[in-house]
Assembly symmetry: C2
Homo-oligomer: 223 residues x 2
DNA sequence: CGCCTCATTGATTCTACTCAATTCGGGTGG
DNA sequence: CCACCCGAATTGAGTAGAATCAATGAGGCG
């Protein structure tokens, strides 16, 4: 498990705000701190946080870094349903079981809340769950009805917003992850990024660092 | 709005159970009845229950019939994020606003709960929200990573389970709805159904009534 | 320095979309 | 009752877009 260390600082709210492109303010919970001693656990990149089918025993809040949630088909096809960044809560269960895999994308710090949803923290839990639900439903629109270029553009804008709106975006995840999130192959993701670059919409400092040059053009791609 | 009539019967729990194909028991709430006088409202087919951006003022539980939730892109492309059947709760809001459209598929009865989530009903609300979340995440796997045949097969199995597992399935929605749910065109949906029919997997009594002949073959398509 | 993984680019294939033409079924009115 | 009409569904032909297969390039690390 490799779970290391444990601090107990007050939760620093991630500086994540701003409305997304379809006019929904993301509503990450301002804080999430049930009255219990909780701890921060660290994971290295690609480490498993929990597995599908595993007995759920806690909720998790990202402290720093990024987490991916995904499911697999029998033949190995993978769909990443969400990336979670600082401040976001994940690990909701139904029937006491996790229905997805959760893994660290890079090194990540996770605050663990071992007590289940109860009368004291229900509101925070519900708020976090609804945020995840709205996000999931919005993502369905992207993967169900947008073409490759639009998906990549939507992804970049989403990442940009979640990193504070700066023109320089850091992509902690691989092309493979992006593909599995957008329902595309890694080649198509790469091609679309190259096209955006060729059209002067973005600049690729390196494979994992992107600068948005023409934000309007990027947004236009999202309809 | 056309909202008609109002009864006040005790809620009859829909006979909806059974694990879905990926081993998740669907967890529709056994009941949902905050201690308030609530009423059943009836809608005709294609009537709007609420609109995107509309101020949210209630939660809704399907009494009978079917409801579709969807979003639109600027150019009219539509993604249906969920169909809801008897017993299921929808209409969760964030920031006091609905983020989706809700419409009756055919004639439908809806129990309306006007009071917001509170200390008395938080558990039921959370359970319903988590059920919707798990469903949404599972549907992402279908539209993100499965081909047309697999999507249609998954849809049929899902409908079958939600109607009690009988071999005879009633599809209250149009091919257009199915397409917008699965991220396919109506022609592709039709072709896949024809292919399943040609292969002896299903029988089409009429366009809206399907009999599952070879359940194993259907499930095999879902991986 | 060389290896290994990740990313990019190219050539080709194939799935699902688009456009178009029937067909089917349900409802209406003569 | 039957003919007609209209929207929904099916079927067909051709095309476009993303997947696949394959080769090359760029970093990062021992």
């Amino acid at each position: 498990m490799l779970a290391q260390a444990a601090t107990n600082s007050t939760f620093p709210v991630g500086a994540l705000s701003g409305a997304n492109r379809v006019g929904v303010s993301r509503g990450a919970p301002a804080s999430f701190s049930p009255d219990q001693p909780h701890q921060v656990v660290f994971y290295d990149g690609n480490q498993e946080i929990y597995a599908q089918g595993e007995r759920a025993k806690a909720l998790y809040q990202v402290e720093f870094g990024m987490v991916r949630l995904y499911r697999l088909l029998a033949d190995g096809r993978r769909q990443i349903s969400a990336f979670h960044v600082a401040g976001e809560v994940f690990g909701f269960e139904m029937d006491g079981q996790h229905h997805f895999f959760a893994e660290a994308v890079g090194r990540v710090g996770i605050r663990v809340f071992r007590q289940p949803a109860n009368d004291a923290n229900w509101r925070q839990t519900l708020t976090a769950a609804l945020a995840a639900l709205v996000r999931a439903q919005e993502h369905m629109l992207v993967i169900g009805r947008q073409n490759a270029a639009e998906r990549v553009a939507a992804f970049l804008i989403d990442m940009q917003e979640r990193q504070g709106g700066d023109r320089h975006i850091e992509l902690p995840m691989s092309r493979n992850d992006i593909g599995d999130y957008l329902g595309l192959t890694i080649e198509t993701v790469s091609r679309m990024l190259s096209k955006l670059k060729a059209n002067g919409v973005i600049r690729l400092t390196n494979a994992r660092t992107i600068e948005v040059v023409d934000e309007a053009a990027l947004e236009a791609l999202c309809e």
